[in-house]
Symmetry: C2
Subunit: 228 residues, 2 copies
Amino acid sequence: MNLKALYQISYGLYVIGSRKGDRRNGQIANTVIQVSSEPPTISVCINKGNLSHEFIKDSAVFTVSILSRDTPLSFIGRFGFKSGRDVDKFDSVNYKIGETQAPIALDNTLAYLEARVINEVDAGTHTIFIGELVAAEVIREGEPMTYAYYHQVKRGTTPKTAPVYIEERKEVGIKAVKYKCTVCEYVYDPEKGDPESGIAPGTPFEELPEDWQCPVCGAGKDEFEKED
Amino acid sequence: MNLKALYQISYGLYVIGSRKGDRRNGQIANTVIQVSSEPPTISVCINKGNLSHEFIKDSAVFTVSILSRDTPLSFIGRFGFKSGRDVDKFDSVNYKIGETQAPIALDNTLAYLEARVINEVDAGTHTIFIGELVAAEVIREGEPMTYAYYHQVKRGTTPKTAPVYIEERKEVGIKAVKYKCTVCEYVYDPEKGDPESGIAPGTPFEELPEDWQCPVCGAGKDEFEKED
């Protein structure tokens, strides 16, 4: 059994909004699908350990913000690598309260969905929440972020099969050393730098400011390891 | 409620293999996801009216062939727009019988998964089959076909039995006259032609050879109707 076969399943990338009473939370998920056409019904798969799981169980509603392809890594990191138990993830994010009274992230969002849970299914590590659509709006045109694209960007690699792939320059001597974040697996590639944080392409990891943080999860430089 | 928001959900494209006793069948689906990590578990959403639904219910197994981005429309049409009640869809297709004794399509396949159903969930028009992985292999490297790519670039169409089906909007103000296949709803657009069949962009429908066939379902020219 080669579990890498699972890597070839395609997904999008979404902020799942939830609430418990007046408390709100959001998290990144990739497993949103439409499961029925009449009535329009969607589902999302949530890890049982997540705060969102507790919130959706309690309120029986959830929202889905469909992220655009140009969503900054820091935004995904905010919702994907922090816990709502420690921070209010919607703080300093544009959002609105939907018909379900759950928060809907609006930054980097192409379209959103709101659903009322009509069934939930135990799936081992995760629960599948099945929700009937109660609201759906398109915010702007654009390409949705896919899980594959997110990984390519985060890891700074382009598969050989991608149309944009160009044979890598193997210039001996000036090969820049990459460093990987041990928290979220983001790879810092000196050739690309970290423009979102003002780090120019060509900046070696060693020359990053000491207070530089992983653009995805916010980990410090000391959480990074040299890549083989 | 704007149901076009649902169009921005990302999916891949898969051949779902199934069996009932010695009978085999396959169909196209886009709603495959991994739902649990330990044990590895996947799910697929199947229309209750499909033969595959009957077969998976009966045998409690299914296979997933993850299609590559360069899969021809005719291959997708074979599995997506014909019924296993009328034809043996695996006839003249490379496949193998897996551990589950269900067929696994190998043509245009990057990787495949085999699963044993451990739960099924009624989702209105569809049933969600949840299956524990019993086999998984990578066949070759490549970019997977995404549902968006299939729709936007290859201009495929959606069968009415898919969970994502929504009544097509009527486009107005078209210069070149488009013709729609009444069998599978593929739209012949003269501006794009049908390069896979050697029809150059700019070829009006009327000038297509008389033996030209719908690239998706194989219907003849007389099965086409002028689009409004």
